[in-house]
Each structure stands twice: as C-alpha cells, then as structure tokens.
Amino acid sequence: MRIKINGRFQDIKDISDLQELIRIKGLSGKAIVIEHNHNIIPKDKWNEVMLEEGDTVEIVSFVGGG
C-alpha cells in the first residue's frame, strides 16, 4: 500500500492503522500531531483510523523558531 507521509510516497506493508504506523516509525511517545487526509486526529483515535491506498499523512512536531 502506498501512502504519502510528510510529502513523500512510501510503501507500507502490514500496517492497518495510524497507531501502528507511528509505532513502526519509532515515533511512539514523541510529542507529535497527526493529520490524516487533512483532518487532525487526536491521539486516542489513532487506532481507529484505518489507512488506505493513496492516503495522505502529515506528522508534525515542535522545533525551535522565532
């Protein structure tokens, strides 16, 4: 399944929901926010959002800035 993660298409295998995607990416426990197909998904709903071919996922966090 190809989904677009942070602007780049990636082949994702054996992952069904956002929660798993975050775990596989090693981002569990980090301060992040996820947007799935332009909708912000609260953390407690990550396991309810099923990924489908062509989905767009943005994963953001804070960085230093002025």
Partner: protein, 262 residues
Amino acid sequence: MSDILRIADRSFDSRLFVGTGKFPDKRVIGDVIKACGCQMVTVALRRVDEKSDDENILDYIPSDCIIMINTSGARNADEAIRIARLARAMGCGRWIKIEVIPDNKYLLPDNVETLKATETLVSEGFILLAYMNPDLIIARALAKAGAAAVMPLGAPIGSGRGFKTKEIVKIMVNELDVPVIVDAGLGSPADAAACMELGCDAVLVNTAIAISKDPVMEAKAFDFAVNAGRTHYILSGSALPAPRAACASSPLTGFLRDGNKV
C-alpha cells in the same frame, strides 16, 4: 515601580520575548530564558524528522513560560490557519503568532493574508499576535479583528539590521490601543532599548541571542536594554517627538462624497 504588560488575560513582568530558533546547542535555551526572565517563548511547527533523535524543544523551556507557536512556513492565510490548528492540537494552549510570508528573499509578511487568517483564528478562540509590515491601517484592522497584539518588524528576519521602521512604528504606538511588539531584525541590545524608549510594549528577539558567542550573557544584555529603554520611556515619555502629522499635497476639497466643500 510596577509596570506590568497585559496581553489578553495574561500579565508579563518581562517585556523581552525570546525565539528558540538557530541555537547551535538547544540545551542552552533554558539558561537563556532564566537569565533574562523571559515569560513568552516562541517555537515553530515542522514535519517530524524520522531520522533525527532530537529531543522535544519543549523540554528546554521552563514550564511557567507561555509557549507561542508561530505559523512560519505559511505562504497564505489558509496555510497559517492549518498550522495554527495543528499547533493547538499539540496541547500547548491557544497562543499563536501569525506569520504569513510569501517572499523568500526578504521574508516580508503579507499583511492582507495575515488579516484574513486573524479573522478566522480569533473566531476559533486563539489568542493571536500578528507579525506584520508596519502599517497603521492594517494594524487597526487586525486589532478590530481581535488580534491581542501587533508585531511590526524592525528589519527583515534574521538580518540584524536594527530598528529601521522607527517612524511608522512610532505612529502605531501613538495611535493603537493594542500592544505593539517589535519583532525581527533587532541586532543588538541598543536596538531593543530604542524600541522601548519609543514606547513599544515589548520586543521579540531570536537570532541576535541565538548566534551570540554567549547566548546567556547576550540574553541578559537584552534584558538590561529592554528595562533601560522602558524605564526611560516611563520617566520622560518618548525619546522621539511624536511624528509630524501629514500635510496633504493634493487639495482637501471637492471629494466625491457628500458633506464636504466643493
């Protein structure tokens, strides 16, 4: 001498706001903030870097500081609104510094798109400070739209050119009811003092502190300067005389509206 800055529902003892970008070593940020007594700190939002082990920038910011997220990277109102909503979902409160920059060379903000974003975000409950090109008419519109403060630039971001917009900012200080906070381009403590002597309510400094060879001492120097400038302003009023009012060069009669002279 009690001299509290109020923005929205918060009070600030310190009139120096600090940005957290460009620090070669992020671990120094906590000491910088403590050294200057800063109570308002800005951060940015970006796509996460999966390969980086960078710690959370918030780990370096004392918990009693207000975190204000900027919308840097936004090129229009819609992008700024999207970033603001993502920022709020991070759970750091409602403070947002709206920053809409379509110009990559001088990083000058788009005041029209900034106003559009302000109207939407204020209606969604954000406490919004608006980074802007100094302009009295747009600043009035931003205040009317509910901006908690306006942030005219002193010079292009990161340029260190100093307080180049003094005359227009002074007019804004004289005429506006919302706080005026000079943001961007201040290169030295003297620049910050000049802003405060003029009657600005606060300054935001990032690059000049971050790239100093001793950011902690530099932050202290800026704090001294802000306090010095502010104290002088309180004691003696503005260091500059009020700008001269304009004197029309075109006739002030015969306008295409009712109620004026022919």
